[in-house]
Symmetry: C2
Subunit: 320 residues, 2 copies
């Protein structure tokens, strides 16, 4: 509570009729109950200007992305979105910004039936914290710990475009206008794979969303599941824009790019047709990129099965 | 995700055995289910350095307060704490800070059986966002909308010491060492009235916690309930330290201080003995400070019932 006129700000930009929540914005707490026998899936992400978004982003795209990265966590659990809270620190209350931010955020929220039920606004360095709630049957939630030797490794959509856009913004490479618009859209308007996550329940053995980069995120699955994997770098799905880049750029964007918000998941090798059918029904391409086996660690090979000389072990290495 | 060694940081300072949550830290989402027939009460607060806490605060006190202000929202709903998520943006990962912050936060969490189930850490301007979850029966949750003409207005504990400490930090007044230590503790270590909130279910007709100042917060109850109230300024409970200040300072700290995290609530006049008994059983003094009547607005009078010349209409007026 600190922006002058906070209450007017909330009333004007963030208050809508209460839907499924028993009690929404305007009391000390929101009240929310999952359906009978279901658990609430909860995830929280904080976005900081300069770190998770650039000052150049359009407000409606920022509103979209702030919610999208949280919905992506629900997707990775196979949970159905229900509601979210928004805590927003702003240097000042700018109507144009707030109008655009709310519009982009609610457009995505409405597509997924996800209701804003509470939050906080304050003056401060630009930061956005969203906590999202979904419902899922405990026993069918997609966990990181379920991968088994013999499973295939899959990924949805394409990888690497968001990182490509970031490098273009940083000036380490240049893209023609159409390519830049394509990559920038991937970075600023990621599409959370909610429908795919729901449909993968009972089919996938484990899942995670690719927020830090494929290499690091898949490694979480392997560690939690106590298994190893081999991934074919040449099989990784990429856009035509990324495929036009030098091989080293492609590899870095594909494996350590992050901000992809695709699902990487495992499923028993006997269920390949089911996985492909699930992807088709969810309208999201899914690509088989590797295999799980006993042991530990993650290895990369090329299409001929030879070890890739540029092994990228972890994402932490790429950030500082 | 951005601090170098984020995973080690979470592992070292914030990972503990999973308790009531079906799934805690370490997957894409936490899973949480309220008891049969109960709803989840949810609240989210963001704390920004310089606005909600000072750089001089000890890390353990900051950890306490960041959770306390959220538990206070659960208390105001009459909800029993279950779990919380923590999103933390830090300029850098300082072990001493994190150790103290986690210690203070978990000490309070453990007293209330409230479990850390997820969150996010990132590099950025110092900001803390906690979302807290409690359970409550929908029909007995304490709402802001239940005050009725004829009710009494009550408040727990004492008001104004946190604001007094802030003014001392700002240098607008000076306190002797013991008085400053007392007031500073009130500002840095507020005690959320969780037990009182639980015990007030079925007794109080409405409740809110005093985070922005009594005048502004009580006004929320009146607006939501469609009623008016008269409050006796002389009856407002205050510490001996505040009572030793000039009258104008007392009035400002009592009515517009904020950061008190006491409960202001209403109850039918016929239930005075019950309210006092509930306060005694919860170990928190409760004081009757006014009365609800038909109409709209909040008026202040002195002990003789005369209108107070220094009417403070709204809290927004005092912050900028």
């Amino acid at each position: 509570m600190a922006i002058l006129g906070e209450f007017e700000l909330i009333e004007r930009f963030f208050t809508r009729p209460t839907g499924r929540a028993a009690l929404g914005i305007g009391d000390d707490c929101a009240l929310l109950a999952p359906g009978p026998g279901l658990a609430l899936a909860i995830s929280s992400d904080m976005l900081i200007e300069g770190r998770h978004f650039l000052s150049t982003v359009a407000p409606d795209r920022l509103g979209h992305k702030a919610l999208a990265v949280n919905l992506s966590d629900l997707a990775a659990c196979g949970a159905r979105p229900l509601a979210f809270t928004l805590a927003l620190a702003l240097p000042r209350a700018e109507e144009d910004f707030l109008e655009g931010f709310a519009r982009g955020m609610f457009a995505l929220a409405d597509r997924h039936g996800c209701e804003l039920v509470g939050g906080d606004t304050t003056r401060g360095p630009f930061a956005i914290c969203i906590t999202v709630f979904g419902e899922v049957a405990r026993e069918s939630a997609l966990l990181r710990s379920g991968a088994r030797a013999g499973d295939d490794v899959w990924v949805s959509g394409t990888l690497g475009d968001a990182r490509l856009a970031l490098e273009a913004f940083r000036g380490t490479l240049s893209l023609d206008e159409a390519s830049f618009a394509h990559a920038r859209r991937a970075m600023e308007m990621p599409e959370p794979r909610v429908g795919l996550g729901l449909a993968l329940q009972g089919v996938a053995s484990s899942a995670i969303d690719v927020s830090d980069g494929l290499a690091g995120d898949l490694a979480h699955i392997l560690r939690r599941s106590g298994v190893a994997a081999v991934v074919d770098v040449d099989a990784l799905p990429r856009s035509a824009v990324l495929a036009a880049q030098p091989a080293a750029t492609q590899r870095e964007c594909l494996l350590a790019g992050g901000d992809d918000y695709e699902l990487v998941f495992t499923a028993a090798a006997g269920r390949r047709d089911e996985v492909l059918a699930v992807g088709a029904s969810a309208g999201v391409p899914v690509t088989r990129i590797g295999a799980v086996h006993a042991g530990s660690g993650l290895r990369f090979v090329d299409a001929s099965g030879q070890p890739d000389p540029a092994v990228i072990a972890s994402f932490d290495h790429f950030k500082s």
